[in-house]
């Protein structure tokens, strides 16, 4: 499209230049009265027929100042100012060529006697135009028409849904985790999903969240053949409020509640046998934390067709505190049959999961 425009301009420029050069050689140029009809044809190429009268007339009016040549306006350009040409020709008293239906008050030369003459009606002016391709013999066929490109769709960049992989590390206040080699640290790995539910303001958004995390910690207690294992799994529901400080920087507050499933195993390996004890507990918990989400700019991944406009990735770093229930554990031997001697279990005590936590989530929003 752009190339076509340039080509047309170039052609028009060449034509105008040619016409100007011919006029400059002193040939009579019929006054060209541009009318509304001619305006439409102004973009058409100048015909040879129109050029002929120009070459025949310069001798009669050579002494007269030539009216300026009527330039053919290019596509999209403004038109020639016709009354100027008429005024100049009236000033020199030349006899205008009766080739256009003029409504501008063209006057007869003052030297002519006021004799009522019957004259043949003036011939309709021959407009100059470019020849159609069909009028030109052996012309090349018209180039194929290129349909213009459809307009680019503008899709929504809103990303209400978030999916994340989370690593969490907790610091419980209970030294009982030393049994599992934890030294009061707990690790979890999991997933969570959140969906925006309310845009409280253009920058503040409330989202609902659900997630799961778990871990399996093994240890050799007291550096002996006593193996301990603590398996944790937790399900939670929560809500978070984030503030869009910048498109790529969003602090947030989060609250969640859920349950933790703990399974404890202790295996004592002896010379000829091994005994395994186990117990389980389900503990409720409530966590409160705050963090910052760093994400990619809006529409970074948007395709030309507008797909993936809402896709963004980011990292959420969050810290907080968990209030959890206290679980009681006892040593219950596994693989105990009714034929064995009655076994009385020993209470291990209570395990408290309350403590601070740090979460790092790799978030995908779309």
């Amino acid at each position: 499209m752009f190339m076509r425009k340039c080509l047309n301009i170039l052609i028009v420029t060449l034509v105008v230049a040619s016409a100007s050069s011919l006029l400059a050689q002193g040939k009579a140029v019929p006054k060209v009265q541009t009318s509304a009809a001619d305006k439409n044809e102004a973009s058409a190429p100048v015909s040879k027929k129109a050029a002929e009268p120009v070459s025949a007339q310069p001798s009669a009016t050579s002494m007269q100042p030539q009216p300026p040549a009527a330039s053919v306006p290019a596509e999209g350009e403004s038109k020639v100012d016709a009354p100027k040409a008429k005024a100049s020709s009236a000033a020199v008293g030349e006899q205008a060529a009766p080739d256009s239906a003029s409504t501008s008050g063209q006057q007869l030369p003052t030297s002519a006697s006021p004799v009522l003459l019957l004259k043949a009606p003036p011939e309709p002016p021959q407009s100059t135009r470019f020849l159609e391709r069909s009028e030109v013999p052996n012309a090349k066929p018209n180039p194929p028409t290129i349909a213009p490109a459809p307009p680019r769709p503008i899709r929504s960049a809103g990303a209400p849904l978030a999916l994340a992989v989370v690593f969490e590390r907790s610091w419980a206040n209970d030294q009982g985790y030393d049994l599992f080699g934890g030294k009061s640290k707990i690790r979890q790995f999991g997933l969570w999903v959140a969906h925006d539910i309310w845009s409280m303001s253009p920058r503040v958004i409330l989202a609902a969240e659900a997630g799961w995390a778990g871990w399996d910690e093994k240890s050799d207690y007291l550096d002996t053949d006593v193996e301990t294992q603590l398996t944790t799994g937790s399900l939670h529901l929560g809500a978070n409020i984030r503030y869009t400080l910048e498109p790529w920087l969003q602090p947030q507050l989060r609250v969640a509640a859920g349950v933790s499933f703990l399974e404890m195993k202790i295996a004592s390996i002896e010379d000829n046998s091994s005994v395994t004890f186990s117990d389980r507990a389900v503990l409720p918990f409530l966590s409160l934390g705050g963090g910052v989400l760093l994400r990619t700019p809006t529409r970074l991944f948007e395709s030309k067709t507008g797909n993936f406009a809402s896709l963004s990735m980011g990292v959420l770093v969050e810290g907080g505190y968990t209030l959890a229930g206290v679980g009681s554990f006892s040593l219950n031997p596994e693989a105990h049959s009714d034929e064995d001697i009655e076994i009385r279990s020993v209470d291990l005590g209570k395990l408290d999961r309350s403590g601070g936590y740090l979460r790092i989530s790799v978030v995908v929003r779309f």
Binding site: F167, E168, R169, D174, G176, D178, L179, G181, G182, K183, R187, K218, S219, D220, Y221, L222, D223, T224, D225, V226, I266, S268, I269, E270, D271, N272, S273, V275, F277, L294, V315, V317, F329, S330, L331, P333, D340, I341, E342, I343, R344, S345, V346, D347, L348, G349, K350, L351, L358, I360
Partner: protein, 556 residues
């Protein structure tokens, strides 16, 4: 871009930190348990590493067994039951924490543990490594046993120092009567005592006294434990050969309040480990100013061979119308295969045995041919059958009637040849002894009838006498796990029985509290595993196992 790069590094580091340490983590402190012992209704384990005592209530009927953890002074190294029938206490020798850079030091202590906890602690100046008690459990002496190696950790210590502890009194650090009392036992050769013995209360110079006998390389020292506060020095008795520290016999009763009763002064009997000398040490009053108000008078007798064992017995000597009770000394010589009988006058009689006995058990009972209760001796060999291999027999025991043995000699001897050698011999009561055959069984010997009842059991682990229940416990592990059992024999009825167990046996401990009598089988386990059975009627149906008690309340 620089900011994004920094952020990426921070996030990557956080992820690595979160996932770091995957896999196993280890606690450097391990349990280092001493052999468990009984204390009232508890089984007590001492953890050397954590300085804790775990008291497991085996008589509890609760669903979860009660375990008490008692904190002890630093570095417990030795555990003994106090030899007292009046109280149930354990003596725990704690060596303290030697001074190190960055660690607080703690002096050594002797902790007395009862069912309620640490009752009292006796502070010690040095990190002793050995302890000995009197037979009645009223006095204990702590000393350095050089045979145990250097456990002092390099501390500057006086190796001939001893601590005398009055266990019946509270600790007193300063004052007129400190408790413990620290003394240095000097020797002519500069060596430390290799053994210590505490005498019963005997009459010395008309007073009831208790003596400590310290054995050096070429010397025996007597320390008057009844006059420590007066600063009386010990009495050194030089010997030109090595004196055996076991047994050390004393005669001489405690002075009686009844003036009509004759006061028998104390006499001490010692044997040489290198010669056939027997030393009879009297303790008459000192004739001149000495370290103490008595001074030893030593008489030497020849036993005809290096003495393996000595024993005292009282004999009645009839001289016409008068009868005299005499204390005679029986000396057994494995080397000479004979026994010697030494009377107070120093007369020695010999009886040839014909087999290499090295132990003598004096008993008073009838005989198959004599219903009279009289002193007799069971002579046997308590070692392996190496010395008897050349004789072609695996074991021989002898019954020696001691009445008129000087006259009758070998006529008073009756020998029995057993099928195999045994070790040890356990005295069950006045009438019965048990002969233990390693890994194969026991034989119960009735001393009066001189009959032997053999009991066979494969994979014998241990033989434990339960005097209150009058049972002999015989745990065994024959190889097949399903055949692990606790065998038992009623001593009176000789009825055997067994109870199948679920795990191998490490030790068997009788526990008695009031009318409750239990037998506790200790199984090898790093978290604790015992099986408790009724001692009177042991059955699998009524047995209870307690497992994992070392982890009791570990989360708290």
């Amino acid at each position: 871009m620089a900011k994004q790069g920094k952020l990426s590094l921070i996030l990557l580091g956080s992820l690595l930190w979160l996932s770091a340490g995957c896999g196993r983590t280890k606690d450097p402190d391990s349990l280092n348990l001493m052999d468990p012992v009984a204390l009232d209704k508890y089984i007590v384990y001492i953890d050397k590493t954590r300085d804790d005592a775990y008291l497991l209530d085996v008589l509890s009927k609760k669903s979860a067994p009660g375990v008490k953890t008692i904190e002890l002074p630093r570095a417990p190294s030795l555990l003994e039951r106090r030899k007292s029938s009046a109280v149930e206490e354990l003596l725990v020798l704690c060596r303290g924490q030697e001074e190190e850079v960055g660690k607080p030091s703690q002096s050594a202590q002797l902790a007395v543990l009862d069912s309620q906890g640490v009752n009292r602690k006796y502070p010690l100046k040095s990190r002793f490594n050995a302890l000995i008690q009197s037979e009645d459990g009223s006095v204990a002496i702590l000393y350095f046993d050089e045979s145990k190696g250097d456990e002092s950790g390099g501390d500057l210590s006086r190796r001939n120092e001893v601590a005398i502890v009055d266990l019946a009194s509270s600790p007193v650090e300063q004052g007129a009567k400190p408790n413990p009392v620290f003394r240095q036992l000097d020797s002519d050769d500069g060596s430390a005592p290799r053994a210590l013995v505490i005498s019963p209360i005997v009459s010395v110079v008309g007073q009831a006294r208790r003596l400590a006998v310290a054995f050096f390389q070429g010397q025996v020292s007597l320390l008057d434990l009844s006059h420590l506060e007066e600063g009386r020095k010990e009495i050194k008795i030089p010997f030109n050969n090595l004196i055996a520290a076991s047994p050390v016999l004393f005669t001489g009763s405690e002075p009686s309040a009844n003036a009509n009763e004759e006061d028998v002064p104390a006499t001490m009997y010692l044997r040489s480990e290198q010669t056939d000398d027997i030393y009879i040490v009297d303790l008459p009053p000192a004739t001149e100013s000495k370290a103490n108000d008595f001074w030893p008078n030593i008489k030497t007798r020849k036993s005809g061979g290096v003495a393996s064992d000595i024993a005292l017995y009282k004999d009645v000597q009839t001289d016409g119308a008068s009868t005299t009770r005499l204390t005679r000394l029986l000396v057994v010589s494995q080397q000479a295969q004979k026994v010697s009988i030494i009377d107070p006058a120093g007369n020695v009689s010999y009886v040839s045995l014909g087999f290499p006995a090295n132990r003598a058990l004096i008993y008073h009972a009838a005989a198959p041919f004599d219903e009279t209760i009289a002193p007799r001796a069971l002579l046997y060999n308590d070692s392996s059958a190496v010395s008897m291999a050349g004789m072609g027999v695996s074991g021989t025991i002898g019954f020696l009637d001691l009445v008129r043995v000087q006259e009758r000699g070998a006529q008073n001897l009756e020998t029995k040849v057993l099928t195999e050698a045994f070790s040890p011999l356990l005295s069950l009561n006045e009438q019965d002894v048990a002969l233990v055959y390693k890994k194969s069984g026991v034989s119960l010997l009735n001393l009066a009838d001189r009959t032997i009842d053999p009991f066979k059991i494969g994979g014998l682990v241990d033989v434990v006498l339960d005097p209150l229940a009058n049972n002999l416990w015989l745990p065994s592990s024959p190889g097949a796990p399903e055949r692990i059992q606790l065998g038992f024999i009623h001593v009176d009825t000789r009825d055997p029985g067994y109870v199948l167990l679920d795990a191998s046996v490490q030790k068997v401990i009788p526990v008695t509290s009031g009318d409750e009598q239990r037998v506790v089988v200790i199984h090898p386990s790093k978290v604790g595993y015992v099986t408790v059975l009724d001692a009177k009627e042991p059955k699998r149906d009524t047995a209870v196992s307690l497992q994992g008690f070392f982890l009791a309340d570990v989360l708290d």
